[in-house]
Each structure stands twice: as structure tokens, then as C-alpha cells.
């Protein structure tokens, strides 16, 4: 029987790594970190998990240890957040380029300065082009589910790309919610043992990570791009298999009460749950609104989004990060790109808010929808608007 217990998202993710029977965990305690590695260290110390816990001296080394461990065929896991993710930035590119299927939980947090340890999506957006599969979670159950699913997808021989599982700092990482934990037997059925086809082995010497001169680098990168996009099939198949075994259904793009809606709000992560309540209230008042929760951020689900978005008149995209000097939030840029080629396309309005731990209430999201519709109707000279931030936005023009 599965168990339903109270867990913060960090503990839920650690449980998933434990049930996945990870072999190597490498983590640094700060810059900042969460309870994920603390809980795993405790499990190893108590003999609940048979793994090598490598207490490294930095996030840069955390990811580097993961590369070495994955290259010998170990199931490898780490966790980080905010500036810690940026500190390993250089190393992040290497994992997908060398097809090393590391799984990493990224608890989303703001970047300095000013120093902030609280949640937003600046860290995730800054690494969007590194070649990792990236998914966002709305709640603690999803933190468990997506972490488990991440191993299944990353290690699939047709994928062999690393996966980042994102959940919001503090709003999820440090908040306790009920989480259903499955039986080990179910987990084992879902997640086969990891067999890395290119493991470093003295009996089959292999050169891993050779250098690419200009006559070969471009081809290598395009091949990586093609393989990465093809992984979407396994990503979706993995979600379907997850639903078959555990009964919870997830999709790259998740519509909420969108049937016939003229205005769609698009959010990512824990804010989607708050925004759903705002949508419910508006529906009750007879407004034609719906919500899109964007779960899969990379590879970006263009087709699925087009299918959901193109019938609406207005799309309001709410981003939890700054994209200085750009066209609006990072999410909004992608949505506009996805829709640009359509003959009939909705207006897309960009909102930025929820930065550095700033909460967004249900009322704040109601305002965002109202103001977004207004901007769509009468236009605005500003490239984006804000929600839940003091003062009027001015002089943000192209």
C-alpha cells in the first residue's frame, strides 16, 4: 500500500531519490542549498540508502563529481538552488553534450544582488540553453513524482540527457504538504536499473569528452540538438507510464478550465495553483478565462502549446524572472515565438512578478488577468507589465 504523509517538497524529492536507489550523490551545503541533500545524507548515515555521498567543496565540483560518476554507470543525483546553479553553469553544458544522464533538483531561487535566498525563476531561465531537460512542479507531490520520472527519462537509452526538476524555493521547498509515497515494488516496475551504454571500463577503453575542432564541432552540436528534440517522445511516454503505474497524469502543457476561454493566463511552478483559484473566482463571475500550467520548459513543447493557445484571443504570460533589456519575461518570449507563424494568433501580454520571494495572492492574479485584458484591448507602450510590485512601470520600451 502506498502511504500518505506530510512532507516538504525537499524531503519529497529526497524520498524519490532514495526509492530510485541512487548510487552517487554529490552536493554542496550552501550558495544556497535546501534540505534535499541533508535528508539524503541522513538516509545514507542511517543505512536507509546504499549510496556514496560526496560532500564536495562547491557546486562546481558537485556537478563535476556527477559527471565522473555517471560516466562509470552510476545513477547520479544532486540538488542546488539559485546562485549555486549559476556557479555550476560551466559544468552544466558538459552533461548533455557528453550524454551523461544526471538528475538534479533545482529549488528555484533569486540571484544576487541584492542578496536574496527566496524564490523566483531567474536561475532556471539562465540555464535554459544548456541542453538539460527542465520540468516545473506545482506542489510537493509533483516534486516526488517528477524526480522519480526524471531518472526514467534521463536514463532511457534513446534519451541519455540530464534532467532538472524545478520547484519553487520556500513556497514548496520548505512547506509541508500531504504526499503519497508509492510502494518500492511499484517504483522498481517504473524505473529499470541503469545500464549506461558508454561506461568507462578498462576492458572496453573509450575516449569520453574529446575536443572538437571547427571541422566537427558544428555537426556534433546539431546532432545533439536533433537528439534532444527527439527525447520529447520518451518524455511523454514516461509521463504516460507514470500514470499507468501511479495513477497521476501529467503533461508537458496542462490546461485548466480552458474550454472556450477567450483569455488564458499562463504560469509555471507553484504559482499555477494560486492562479487556478483566481481563475475559479472569475469563472464564477461568468468571465471567459482559463489557465495553462507550463510543465515542460525544455525541450520546449511548441506543438502542444500551439494547440492549447491558438483559439484564445489573449494570452497573459506571467514570468517570475527579469530578462533585462529583452522583450519581456523569458516564458513570454517563447510563447510569442511559438505563435508567430500562426495565421490567426492571439495577443500575448507579458507580466513579470513574484521576484525574490514576493508572494502573489489570488487577488494579485485576478488583477493580472484584468489588467492583461485591458492592455490587450487598448495596447500599451510598455513591453511588459508587473503584478504584485509597487509603483507603475514606465519607460520599458523597445
Amino acid at each position: 500500500m502506498s502511504r500518505r504523509i506530510g512532507l516538504e517538497a525537499s524531503f519529497a524529492a529526497a524520498e524519490a531519490a532514495r526509492m530510485a536507489d541512487v548510487d552517487v550523490i554529490a552536493a554542496y551545503p550552501i550558495t544556497p542549498q535546501t534540505h534535499v541533500p541533508e535528508r539524503l545524507a541522513e538516509m545514507v548515515a542511517d543505512g536507509e540508502l546504499n549510496a556514496a555521498y560526496v560532500p564536495v567543496e562547491s557546486e562546481h565540483s558537485a556537478m563535476s563529481v556527477c559527471l565522473g560518476a555517471a560516466a562509470v554507470g552510476a545513477r547520479t543525483f544532486t540538488a542546488t538552488a539559485g546562485p549555486g546553479l549559476e556557479y555550476m553553469h560551466n559544468v552544466l553544458y558538459v552533461a548533455p553534450s557528453m550524454r551523461l544522464p544526471v538528475v538534479m533538483v533545482v529549488v528555484n531561487r533569486a540571484l544576487s544582488a541584492p542578496l536574496s535566498i527566496w524564490g523566483d525563476h531567474s536561475d532556471a531561465m539562465a540555464v535554459r540553453d544548456t541542453g538539460w531537460i527542465q520540468v516545473f512542479c506545482q506542489n510537493n507531490q509533483e516534486a516526488f513524482d517528477m524526480t522519480l520520472w526524471a531518472f526514467r527519462v534521463a536514463e532511457d537509452p534513446k534519451v541519455l540527457f540530464p534532467v532538472m526538476v524545478h520547484f519553487d524555493g520556500f513556497h514548496l521547498s520548505h512547506v509541508t504538504e500531504p504526499v503519497i509515497l508509492p510502494e518500492q515494488e511499484e517504483v522498481d516496475r517504473f524505473l529499470p536499473r541503469f545500464h549506461y551504454p558508454f561506461a568507462l571500463d578498462p576492458d572496453k577503453p573509450m575516449t569520453h569528452g574529446a575536443f572538437g575542432a571547427p571541422d566537427i564541432y558544428s555537426e556534433a552540436k546539431i546532432a545533439q540538438e536533433v537528439a534532444f528534440r527527439k527525447s520529447k517522445k520518451v518524455i511523454i511516454k514516461g509521463l504516460a507510464e507514470f500514470a499507468d503505474i501511479f495513477g497521476r497524469h501529467y503533461h508537458p502543457v496542462e490546461p485548466y478550465r480552458t474550454e472556450g476561454a477567450k483569455t488564458l493566463l499562463l504560469t509555471m511552478g507553484s504559482f499555477s495553483e494560486t492562479a487556478k483559484i483566481a481563475i475559479d473566482r472569475k469563472k464564477k463571475r461568468g468571465e471567459s478565462v482559463g489557465l495553462i500550467n507550463l510543465r515542460l520548459w525544455r525541450p520546449f513543447p511548441f506543438q502542444e502549446l500551439r494547440r492549447e493557445l491558438k483559439k484564445a484571443e489573449t494570452i497573459i504570460v506571467f514570468d517570475r524572472c527579469s530578462a533585462f533589456g529583452g522583450p519581456g519575461g523569458a516564458g513570454c518570449s517563447e510563447i510569442r515565438s511559438a505563435l508567430y507563424g500562426e495565421s490567426e494568433k492571439p495577443r500575448v501580454v507579458s507580466f513579470i512578478g513574484g521576484l525574490g520571494g514576493r508572494d502573489m495572492s489570488v487577488e494579485d492574479f485576478e488583477y493580472v488577468v484584468d489588467r492583461g485584458r485591458e492592455i490587450a484591448a487598448v495596447g500599451s507602450e510598455e513591453l511588459f507589465a508587473t503584478g504584485g510590485i509597487r509603483g507603475e512601470v514606465t519607460a520599458i520600451r523597445g
Binding site: 548510487d23 562547491s58 565522473g68 560518476a69 547520479t76 578498462p202 577503453p205 573509450m206 575516449t207 575542432a213
Partner: protein, 311 residues
């Protein structure tokens, strides 16, 4: 099949080559000679992690490779962490019975910049965590692969592209960072210096470092004709002079105990080592005297360590 060996006096050296010919090192490079000897000492049951640098670039241009042993390169600054992951991964997979128990030596290979500058933090971490690995620093005393820029291992008075000798500068104005001392300060079980001009000494130290349980560090003096500006047939001679003048003494520190493996009771003047090299050509007598004084002091300190804590 019995291993084929060549006998040099009492030394037996395998005829097997783990580093294939056809690589792109410069003519007269002592580093690749040292690497080839190190590979012979390590044998087949090894996994090598390589930092970015001359060795990485000259041995692994896609789609060809010089490596006949498993080899991985990830980045410049993280080789000690990469090999930590290899070692941790192998260890736990053997413990869990996923791969057969076997003695596979985990070896990191890096240059002086990748070791004493940008790779220092990762190396210190790997030493402190007590991984069972051997770290080989091939020291050619500057960033040679990228164009002879100075590193913290560049010796005082050498001219490099980022610390050039000029009207108002002698070139490098700092003294070479003592990596072995830093390694020893981590209380690791084995640290040593080596030079390919003394091939059996080098191979013995590499073998010893690989066999000792826990972290081991071997700092290998790697004369570089391109960066040091000497004739390409002089590599062995330059290495020998570095040892004979006391500029680069050959010693080992085993569990804190010091031993000079090549002892020179009477050191040759440093001038003999400096003169054939273009990078020192601008040095005036007073600077050479200053270097001589420093070498004398360092050598005396080393001798004092040997006397105080003998092997």
C-alpha cells in the same frame, strides 16, 4: 599471455604502449615522454580523467584518439572533482555488486595551470575527502597550450606572454608556487616530484602513488621547448640540469616522511640551467644571483626536512 618487458639494468619496463603514436605534441616535448612513461607504470587497469590542456588537446582531436585506456575529459578546472566522481561511482557500484570487484586505478592528469591556479579548489577538496586517486601534475611552468601565459607555477624571472620581460620588468616577478608543499599540507599519504630525465624514478613514483590507498600527488617537471625556448633536442638535458642545479629536486614524501630520491651533494650553478633557455635570456647577473640564493635556501630547507623526518 605474459607481459613483454624490456630490461634496463634492474628495471623492467613493459613494451606495451597505452598512449598511441600519432598525437600532435611539439617536437622535443618532455611532457608527452613523461606521460608515456607514466602510462606504462599505470598499466591497463586504469581510468584517466584529463583536465583541459596540452595533453588533452594533443591526444583527443575528434574523431581520433591516442588513448588505449578509458579516458574522460570534462573541463579545465574540475579534473580532481571528475576523478572523485569516477572513484566514488566505481566504489559504490562494486559495493552494490553491480560491477565485479577489481582494482581500477583512478588517475587525474592536469597541467600546472589546471592544478595550481584554476583547479586548486577542486584538488584541495578531493585531497580532503580522501578519495583513492593519483593526481599527476605535468608542470611546464605556464599556460603553454593557449600561448605561453604565466601561471603561478612560472618561475621567477621567466618571460611569458602575459608577464613579458621588458624595459621595466624581468618578466615573472613572483616565485613558483610550491604545489608539493600544498599537497603535503593536506596530510595525504604520498606526494612526490618527478622528471622524465629520470625515467625509472618517475615510473616508480607513479606506480607507488597509484598503489597507495588514498590520495597521491606526483608533480612532474615537463620541459617545454616551445615555451621555454630551447632547442628541441635538449629536453632531457634541461630536465637533468633542473635536478642537478637544485632548481627542481627529486624527492618524495610518504606519510610525512621525506626522501631525496636523487641526491646531489654538490649542486651545479643555476646559471647552467638558465642559460640554454630563451625565457631567461634577459636576466642580468644580479637576478641570477637572486635565483641562486633562493634555490640554495629551498634546497637547504628540503635537506633539513629529510634530516628531521627521514623515510
Amino acid at each position: 599471455m605474459a607481459e613483454k618487458v624490456i630490461k634496463f639494468g634492474k628495471n623492467l619496463v613493459t613494451t606495451e604502449e597505452f598512449l598511441a603514436e600519432g598525437h600532435s605534441f611539439c617536437t622535443g616535448c618532455a611532457e608527452v615522454l613523461a606521460l608515456r612513461l607514466a602510462c606504462k607504470a599505470l598499466g591497463r587497469d586504469v581510468i584517466i580523467a584529463n583536465a583541459t590542456g596540452c595533453i588533452e588537446v594533443c591526444t583527443s582531436p575528434l574523431p581520433v584518439t591516442s588513448w588505449r585506456v578509458p579516458w574522460i575529459h570534462t573541463l579545465f578546472e574540475n579534473v580532481a572533482a571528475t576523478i572523485s566522481g569516477v572513484e566514488a561511482g566505481l566504489g559504490i557500484l562494486m559495493k552494490k555488486g553491480r560491477i565485479p570487484e577489481r582494482d581500477i586505478k583512478c588517475v587525474a592528469v592536469a597541467g600546472d595551470g589546471g592544478t595550481s591556479d584554476i583547479g586548486m579548489q577542486a584538488l584541495s577538496g578531493a585531497f580532503e575527502r580522501n578519495h583513492d586517486f593519483l593526481y599527476l601534475c605535468f608542470d611546464n611552468e605556464a599556460y603553454m597550450n593557449t600561448g605561453i601565459q604565466r601561471s603561478s607555477a612560472t618561475p621567477y624571472g621567466a618571460s611569458t606572454t602575459t608577464a613579458p620581460a621588458g624595459k621595466f620588468s624581468i618578466g615573472q616577478i613572483t616565485w613558483k608556487k610550491d604545489m608539493v608543499k600544498i599537497a603535503v599540507a593536506h596530510n595525504i599519504p604520498y606526494a612526490a616530484t618527478a622528471c622524465p630525465s629520470y625515467p625509472f624514478d618517475l615510473m616508480n613514483k607513479v606506480r607507488k602513488g597509484a598503489e597507495i590507498e588514498g590520495p597521491a600527488y606526483v608533480h612532474i617537471f615537463s620541459p617545454c621547448p616551445t615555451g621555454w625556448r630551447y632547442a628541441s633536442d635538449l629536453a632531457i638535458e634541461i630536465g637533468r640540469l633542473a635536478v642537478e642545479t637544485g632548481v627542481f629536486p627529486l624527492y618524495e614524501v610518504e606519510t610525512g616522511r621525506y626522501k631525496l630520491t636523487v641526491d646531489r651533494p654538490n649542486l651545479k650553478p643555476v646559471e647552467e640551467y638558465l642559460k640554454p633557455q630563451g625565457r631567461f635570456r634577459h636576466l642580468l647577473d644580479e637576478e641570477i644571483a637572486k635565483i641562486q640564493e633562493r634555490v640554495n635556501e629551498d634546497y637547504a630547507r628540503l635537506k633539513a626536512n629529510v634530516a628531521a623526518l627521514p623515510a
